[in-house]
């Protein structure tokens, strides 16, 4: 069947503003949107730029706006849409466009780096493994599904209003280390996120959870950080 792809184009070398270009393609219901982009590039227009690699939703390269909603191009198939085979493909919002569907994710990764995304422990590790309860791990397990595709942060309305907001992805990583029983930097981690640009920037609008291609309950995880801060506050006022 014939499908139409209306694709956002911008080449900084020649364009002053973005425009849209239309391509048509014979598609099968089981084709991934990424397959379609590849075929457009291979068969019709080699200048089309977009990121991709693993093509099955684990590397996190190809988050895009597809028909106005943020999706991974490799995880959505033609049959998943009920839009009469018309597709509008745009880059992720929030970030600056480098070319066509490729955006500059440096600010995203900079925030990730900022929250100290690594295990901090003030005790020397034992000879063998540290012990950890499965229940503890199950608690932060949802955050381990994150593939850093930036969908949640791109979708978050708070990020659009406040560029300094850490954003859901970075806060989710913070959640992952805060609740890992092996990490001992809870105090300094909480101090870092306990700010209007940090966890209190989140207004529980659920957009992050809604778009997450890995089904992570991002908003709930962020809510656990808020709970932990309030709990610590209570403990402090008691003592």
């Amino acid at each position: 069947m014939k499908s139409t792809f209306i694709i956002y184009r911008f080449d900084p070398a020649v364009d002053t503003t973005a425009h849209y270009r239309e391509y048509s393609l014979e598609t099968e219901p089981n084709d991934k949107i990424l397959d379609c982009l590849n075929r457009i590039r291979w068969e019709q227009d080699p200048t089309l730029a977009y990121r991709f690699s693993c093509a099955h939703g684990i590397c996190g390269s190809d988050a895009l706006m597809i028909n106005g909603r943020i999706e991974l191009a490799c995880q959505k198939l033609i049959r998943d849409f009920r839009t009469a085979n018309n597709f509008v493909i745009e880059p992720l919002p929030l970030f600056n466009v480098i070319k066509d569907l490729v955006v500059d994710l440096n600010p995203f990764f900079e925030k990730h780096r900022h929250i100290r995304p690594y295990l901090i422990s003030d005790t020397d590790p034992p000879e063998r493994e540290r012990l950890q309860e499965s229940e503890n791990q199950s608690f932060f397990e949802p955050a381990l599904r994150c593939i850093l595709c930036a969908s949640c942060t791109a979708a978050c309305p708070i990020n659009r209003a406040n560029p300094d907001y850490f954003g859901p992805a970075a806060l989710l990583r913070s959640f992952r280390y805060l609740f890992d029983s092996r990490d001992t930097a809870t105090g300094s981690r909480l101090a870092q996120v306990d700010s209007p640009d940090g966890i209190w920037g989140c207004r529980t609008m659920w957009w992050c959870t809604d778009v997450c291609p890995k089904g992570i309950p991002v908003t709930k995880c962020l809510g656990q950080i808020k709970r932990l801060i309030r709990q610590k506050e209570k403990e402090n006022t008691k003592t």
Partner: protein, 576 residues
């Protein structure tokens, strides 16, 4: 633009990142990667990483060593396999200490599960040896090591494509890379270079591999004088999703999943009575295709079923979450209710750049090395996997030998100053090559050459091979290589020019496809993943040797052999 670093690491998968960490904070290290670091294909590794921890049941690294030797069909070098399996428990503890969130046992230790070809007491029965984090083991290790590198402040050059190695008088002194964002060439002058560029699975049509796995490091090292080793051994993973090749981890069978033919029969019971569905990948792939050839594919088509319906929701959601998502998204299958349609998919290169056990790149059968050039991970061939890799040994390989390469580089760079660069512009040759490609008036497309190569390799040089067709494939590949001279680049821009990189990559893959085919043609026996229908038996008298390939410019590669290192386990018939 010119840079100077003590060490340049090409590739930001697990081998490269583990080496970067080992180099320490006193070493100026640059990691260059064609994709952003966390997009590296190590992240797609699902099922686990093998180590004889003995957390679930008694285990011994010697059993692991034996299984790996037997799995390799006795082609793996046993000194290297001993290093791999002895160092495995330490490697796991080290990962755990860095923060890798492994699944846990009831008493809080690292959980382990069964995997193909891993057995207790030298082949008695399957053993739980694979440490895992659900079925995203590679992904969480990649994240952990990358984040460790961020903590260390290591310099990353993301979306930089390696174009060439700078080698003067047998010494490697840097690399030339192409910045995808703006089309500029960068030279990295260094005392040592580590290639950790991963595999080349995109040589085949049906592949579990990412688009980025085009064998760049292997091909560049080959052209620069390194020997490639055992290239004919290409692993086809038995359970790729039908037609898509997306991997369904062996952990699915480790957790109790079984393969069934169109009669609903658990056919692996016949082929491997002891370990059944947990036989090694080379065997299971052949068995699936034999079933299909005998008319027992599902609906007469070229696939069988992987049945997980009896495992229960708990196991699926806790231990096989990613693959059940893949089955749902891509095959429309709810794995708790229906079987998954699967067929073998190109998965892993046992062969690669010949190295010693410290990652030094070797040039020939005399073990001469290229000074300052190292390789680790899938792009390298130590060789620990021989003719067939066991599941959950590749994550182990990249971490053990990535670390060892890092360690030997670290001692090497303290013994020398920066090597002298010859000429004014070390990127000059690459610039000429790019200009020639960009200006080419030929009418050929890299995509059509690539598709033809993938079809030819899939049809003739995959699980089953035959001398008569391999001859013809050598000719066809030659012709495709000639067509490469006529590729024209339609994208004339400098920003994210994938068109240009596609053309470069197809050239790399064709060089490697030629070595794979030549090895398959010359090796007149069947061993591990290499099966010759016209020579169905293993021939230890003539072929218990590694294949070596040397680049010969416009001519087909030179073919040499070198002995296998056998220390503990004499070759026996391989039955499971």
């Amino acid at each position: 633009m010119n840079h100077q670093y003590d060490v340049v690491i090409v590739g930001a998968g697990l081998a490269g990142l583990r080496a970067a960490i080992e180099l320490g904070e006193d070493t100026r290290t640059a990691v260059i990667s064609k994709v952003f670091a966390t997009r590296s294909h190590s992240g797609a590794a699902q099922g686990g990483i093998g180590a004889a921890l003995g957390n679930e049941e008694e285990d011994d690294w010697k059993w692991h060593m034996f299984d790996t030797v037997k799995g390799s069909d006795y082609l793996g070098d046993q000194d290297a396999i001993e290093i791999l399996t002895r160092d495995a428990p330490r490697t796991i503890y080290e990962l755990e200490h860095m923060g890798v969130p492994f699944n846990r046992t009831g008493d809080g230790r690292i959980a382990q599960r069964a995997f193909g070809g891993h057995t207790r007491n030298f082949g008695e029965s399957p053993i739980k040896r694979a440490c895992y984090a659900a079925d995203r083991t590679g992904r969480v290790i990649l994240d952990t090591l990358w984040e460790k590198c961020l903590q260390r402040g290591i310099d990353f050059f993301n979306e930089f494509q390696i174009m060439d190695l700078t080698v003067h008088d047998g010494q490697c002194c840097g690399v030339t890379a192409y910045d995808l964002a703006n089309g500029t060439l960068h030279h990295f002058h260094s005392k040592a270079v580590l290639l950790a560029t991963g595999g080349a699975g995109k040589i085949y049509r049906t592949s579990s591999n990412a688009f980025a796995t085009t064998g760049d490091g292997m091909a560049i090292a080959f052209r620069a004088g390194a020997a490639l080793e055992d290239m004919e051994f290409v692993q086809f993973h038995p359970t790729g999703i039908y037609r898509l090749g997306i991997l369904i981890s062996e952990a699915a069978r480790g957790e109790g999943g079984v393969l069934r033919n169109n009669e609903g029969e658990r056919f692996m019971e016949q082929y491997a009575p002891v370990i059944k569905d947990l036989a090694p990948r080379d065997m299971v792939s052949r068995c699936i295709l034999r079933e299909i050839q005998s008319g027992r594919g599902i609906d007469g088509k070229d696939y069988v079923f992987l049945d997980l319906t009896h495992l229960g929701e708990e196991v699926v959601s806790k231990k096989l979450a990613e693959i059940s998502g893949f089955a749902r998204t891509y095959a429309g299958v709810d794995v708790t209710k229906e079987p998954i349609p699967v067929q073998p998919t190109c998965h892993y290169m046992m062969g690669g750049i010949a190295t010693d056990t410290d990652g030094r790149v070797l040039m020939d059968d005399k073990n001469q090395s290229i000074e300052g050039l190292y390789a680790a991970g899938e792009c390298a061939c130590v060789s620990v996997h021989g003719a067939n890799r066991l599941g959950c040994n590749s994550l182990l390989d990249v971490l053990v030998f990535g670390r060892r390469a890092g360690r030997s580089i670290r001692s090497y760079i303290h013994t020398i100053g920066f090597p002298t660069l010859h000429g004014d512009d070390p990127t000059g040759d690459t610039a000429v090559q790019i200009t020639a490609l960009m200006d080419s008036a030929g009418g050929d497309l890299s995509s059509s050459i690539r598709t033809e190569m993938q079809e030819i390799m899939m049809e003739n040089v995959s699980v089953f091979r035959h001398g008569d067709t391999l001859f013809k494939v050598m000719d066809k590949l030659r012709r495709l290589k000639e067509r490469c001279r006529n590729i024209s680049i339609k994208d004339k821009g400098r920003c994210f020019n994938r068109d240009l990189l596609d053309a470069v990559e197809v050239g790399y893959m064709l060089d490697l496809a030629e070595t794979i085919t030549l090895g398959a043609l010359n090796r007149t026996e069947s061993r591990g993943a290499h099966f010759r229908e016209d020579h169905p038996d293993r021939d230890d008298k003539h072929w218990l040797v590694h294949s070596l390939f040397r680049y010969a410019g416009p001519n087909p590669p030179n073919f040499l052999t070198k002995p296998v290192n056998i220390t503990e386990f004499e070759p026996q018939e391989r039955k499971y």
